[in-house]
Symmetry: C2
Subunit: 209 residues, 2 copies
Amino acid sequence: MKAYKIPEATVMRLSVYSRYLQQLLEEKVETVSSGEIARGVGVSSAQVRKDLAYFGEFGTRGVGYRVEELFGHLMNILGLDQQWNVIIVGAGKLGCALARYQGFRERGFQICAILDNDPAIVGEKVDCLQIESLDKLKKLVHEYDIKVGIVTVPAEAAQDVTDQLIESGVKAILNFSPRVLKVPADVILRNVDLSVNLEVLSFNLTYNG
Amino acid sequence: MKAYKIPEATVMRLSVYSRYLQQLLEEKVETVSSGEIARGVGVSSAQVRKDLAYFGEFGTRGVGYRVEELFGHLMNILGLDQQWNVIIVGAGKLGCALARYQGFRERGFQICAILDNDPAIVGEKVDCLQIESLDKLKKLVHEYDIKVGIVTVPAEAAQDVTDQLIESGVKAILNFSPRVLKVPADVILRNVDLSVNLEVLSFNLTYNG
């Protein structure tokens, strides 16, 4: 498989472009220029062209990009032409909200299991999913061939849960806990700190407001 | 007020550094090197030094940074030495999870109100907050001097809600809806697409896994 060496910021924008193209597809738009994509998602058109150029030529001069074709390419590049099975560890408020988050399913991420160590909530339903006990982690990861784990446990439990996920064969971790986690080099870790987003706003409000 | 022209990725890392420093403060660590910060948060030490250099010299050669001082500087830079009042529009699962998210409060973001247009849930409690009707938006924004709005309504309602927030005087919007929003140039918009984070993982699993 070809290894693309591209910046993470580019990958994130490709994801945003693909969503915009999906919107256009739904509106039955057939072709789109880099300028239109740029305006649609709020970046410069030079940026759009540069990002797409990482993957070769998609567009036709004067015509632009065929929406359906470009959408298909981007979904393929993002690895979204397949289903990813996902496990959530931590069935607190955030874990349950993520389990129900429609946006994941729409993009091919199937939440197969949600676990917690609190016996008081094990067995409760989150939509169609039943909250399972933490000690079923390994069994469930194997059963559903899960490659992606989402960690939404409190900070003090996060490293332990992460270690268990990796031992069970999970290859990518999305960490919502505020703790800095250690993972082996062959495991992909991504930290999502919801506060960071608000802090970018407060920075901008303070200095550019 | 000095306007810093720094890349958003840097601001996001400053936010992460500040959280790591807070961890160190709690552990009563007094000084830290750029290398230690780098290892702690998973970036290169050159990156740490470059990011901090945007704001002048903090460290002392051979000694490193004084944790408390650097933490204070970063919080000040991020605009977090004050409280920001926040309104959430959309009291669905995600909106409620965000209203209860402890991490916001810890960093000075006070959720003052949560609104919804569904009469069936208006009046219900989300922890100590009562869900208010959407038509109280303007009144509540004024009453609490709210500058930051979080949009967690379905895509089709997102632009309308955003327009209402801006009309009421909100200056920064955190958009969790999958819709691309239009805002005037003096309003700061930040889109949080939870799926994007999973998609960066799926990209990396596909091409570098």
